[in-house]
């Protein structure tokens, strides 16, 4: 089976196998048809294949009569931030994000900067399937203009949004690892303008990623090792699109990416309570942090577009996922590693807390993740069967927002068919490590039996 995945937020797959130029041109032409000859922003990360896909996207968009503003190498959140400012009808970001080398993705962004609303994305897919694209006549083919000066307004707004004075006077030092991705050229202006002495690593736009681009402890070792030699207040590891972030404390301890959202929630909700939006398999730490500050948590299906959409519905102040992504609609409708870094530095500066203390202040849970193999078209049925198995879920509260989640007093289990692999993902979290393992084992056993 090939790796192509085409959904209402965009498309992703392996380059040279699933993501062919024809498919990408057609998909861009479908989006261009949907946008009806308006202006579209195009940005990309630094991957070897991103330049190629950019040409395909631009060819497809201009053929439908859309005017293209080409941002070149641009982190996805900066492109999202710019959508309203450039009065764009939409934007296309080309970035493999947290996926390994060899993968890439084309993400569709709406005029507000959020990922396209699922219902809009469905319409784009319908146009793609019908292949009845708008075709601009030769003299109305869209023009392409390059945009190079988008960082100024972005950083101006970011400096306005966080407590820049507090951060500057704290005189922080940091190690930042943008994994040779879209963030490389923006690490230095970010650090300079916030007055943070920064050692950047893996900040060459070589086309190759320095390590797996998923920000998580095993990929944060280079930062941690460096911090053992050059003491710094904090270390940051970002994904190749600057959409996800994990931290390393001043002690050189790598923190799970699950903590990024909770640290920021703990800080932001302390200043301003409100609705928090997350997906249905994020750590219960976030529920505790929210209730600590008198805030409500709303849970959505897995997928960032759903979170951004629910944040707009519920007028949430904060949204995020356990993979190290946070968005604040008051700043932009994007999961943004620069914003996350700014907020964490602000938390350290205004509370006078070390990075390790921000982590220690969070309620502790133990999380276990498992995969159960099964043919993809059987996974949904298997989960369905389990949802009716009351001996297993007895005493818990089931929820079928996305897959199956059962909550007990001291923890929860979530089962979900993966969209990218033929597996069911099992996540179990509990106050006690043994209990988390037991519940994961039990769910795995039952799934294996059914599959």
């Amino acid at each position: 089976m090939k790796t192509l995945r085409l959904a209402n937020f965009g498309m992703q797959g392996m380059v040279g196998e699933a993501l062919t130029p024809e498919i990408v041109i057609d998909f861009a032409a479908a989006f261009g048809t949907f946008l009806n000859r308006e202006t579209v922003l195009v940005g990309r990360d630094t991957r070897q294949s991103s330049r190629m896909l950019r040409s395909a996207v631009i060819a497809g968009l201009t053929s439908t009569g859309c005017r293209v503003l080409d941002f070149g190498v641009c982190p996805t959140p900066m492109l999202q931030f710019s959508a309203e400012r450039y009065s764009a009808a939409g934007a296309v970001s080309i970035s493999g994000g947290h996926n390994p080398m060899g993968w890439n993705a084309v993400q569709l962004i709406s005029s507000t900067g959020a990922f396209i609303e699922p219902v809009g994305g469905d319409t784009v897919l319908d146009i793609y399937h019908g292949r009845d694209f708008e075709r601009a006549a030769w003299n109305t083919i869209g023009v392409v203009e390059e945009v190079n000066d988008f960082t100024g307004p972005y950083f101006d707004a970011l400096l306005e949004f966080v407590d820049t004075d507090a951060i500057r006077s704290a005189d922080f030092s940091a190690v930042i690892d943008p994994v040779n991705g879209a963030g490389c050229r923006f690490v230095e202006p970010f650090s300079k303008r916030l007055g943070v002495k920064t050692i950047p690593i893996n900040h060459e736009e070589s086309g190759y990623l320095a390590h797996e681009p998923e920000p998580r402890p095993r990929n944060a070792r280079q930062v941690a090792n460096l911090m053992n030699v050059v003491p710094s207040n904090i270390g940051f590891v970002a994904s190749s699109d600057m959409g996800r972030l994990s931290i390393v404390s001043e002690l050189g301890e790598t923190a799970s990416e699950e903590y990024t959202f909770s640290i920021i929630a703990n800080h932001v909700l302390g200043k301003q309570s409100g609705v928090v939006v997350t997906n249905c398999c994020t750590t219960r730490t976030i529920d505790e942090v929210a209730s600590r500050h008198g805030s409500v948590v709303v849970k959505t299906r897995v997928g960032q577009a759903y979170i951004l959409s629910a944040m707009a519905d519920e007028q949430g102040v904060l949204g995020g996922e356990g993979n190290g992504s946070v968005a604040m609609p008051e700043f932009s409708r994007a999961f943004d590693a620069f914003l996350m870094m700014g907020l964490i530095l602000e938390a350290m500066a205004t509370c006078g807390a070390r990075a390790s203390e921000l982590v220690a202040a969070l309620p502790r849970y133990h999380m276990v993740k498992r995969k159960v193999s099964g043919e993809s078209h059987r996974c949904y049925q298997a989960i369905d069967r389990l949802s009716r198995n009351e001996t297993w879920s007895g005493g818990g509260t089931p929820s079928t927002v996305d897959g199956l989640r059962v909550d007990w007093e001291d923890g929860w289990v979530h089962l979900r068919a993966s969209h990218t692999e033929p597996v069911v993902r099992v996540i179990s979290e509990s106050k006690s490590k043994d209990e988390a393992e037991n519940r994961a084992d039990e769910a795995t056993r039952l799934l294996e039996h059914v599959l």
Binding site: E22, I25, A29, S49, S55, A59, S63
Partner: protein
Amino acid sequence: MRDTPKVGISGVRGIAGSSFTPQLATSFAQAFGTYVGPGSVLVGRDTRRSGPMIENAVITGLQSTGCKPLLAGVVPTPTLLVMTPRLGARGGIAITASHNPEQWNALKFIDENGTFLTPSRASELYDVYHQREFRMVPEHDISEPSVPRDCVEPHFQEILNYVDIEAIRKRPVKVAADCCNGVGAIHTPRFLEHFNCDFVACGLSVTGQFDREPEPLPHNLGTLSELVTSHGADIGFAQDPDGDRLAIVDEKGTPIGEDLTVALAVRQVLDAHEKGPVVVHLSTSRCIRAVAESYGCPVHLSKIGEINVTEKMLETGAVVGGESNGGVIIPAIHPCRDSYAAMAVVLELLAKTGKRVSELRAEIPTFVLVRDKIPIEIEDAVNALRSVRRHYDDRDLNLMDGVHVDFDDRWFHTRISNTEPVVRITAEAPDEKGALALIKEVRGLIEGVANI
């Protein structure tokens, strides 16, 4: 005729936004990348509005097969032909519909030697396209496009090395040029500076649209004629949008016609450079044969189509030739049409002889050439040509491309068009009456068969 892409020996053409889409261009670029193998491919375009879109489509298609695009940008088609072998590229793609109107665009495929794909190689490429099993490389084998250093100047240097540049500089003439809002608008002024020519021009804005019909036919050259007379220029040069064809206007503002443009170039090459065979295609005016014969040089005829002329020239070791539409070919520079090479040898002719263009024109025997076409169904067309052939069976027949019949002082050529549902007839005689009589005779034969 339906608006379909036209795939043939001169590449893939169509109307941008209807029959010529980025999807089509990408698939052909993938086929070309698969066909030539991983390596660099030179890509350039003319100034058409659809150019950047098609260029992006070509880049993405080439990259996906592991080829490295070398982006020459907006350059003359002959520049791409010269530079493809020089840069060690596996091939080249010219994005231009040449003399077709502005809504058209096309891909023309260049081989590693710097000529367009021969018909046999083109059909291999089209097989790859139709089989749709394009090579796809994983991410780490994708090559970033690069921009080679100035491509145009080395091309111009080849031409400057060929002509006696000092002679031209010593007797500079005043040139008026119509760059047709094409590649010439960017490169022609710089080219003419090499000769110290005093220079006025029109068609210099680059907007993606053309101020005149892009084919340099006499009736499209009104602006240039005015420019010549109002500025007292010695000669007017009219290019097409991609700079492969040239037409000349004399110092009185009269277009001399594309056939005579080629004839002047042929005369100068045979006179000052090298004597040898001359190649033109079957529908070319006999004035070129007259020039060649006055130097004792043989003339060989080829099928219609630039690549056919090129192949015949290489086969016969020709020293000069071309297409009657103003496409001058000088193989010592490179074996394809080049308006810059044509300008240079004609300037050299003016400098060496010291004569006016109208005088030089008067020295070449003139004939009257008449072109006609008859709309017809394809099956009828085939039968009609058979009937013409049988009618002239006892004459001097050439059947390599349609029917060409030579009489003592006149000839005609009739063939089925590659681009329109018509049969074309070209006839030439010493006077207009004779040419029209020939046309009428052939027309009658064709219409008799087709019951028109």
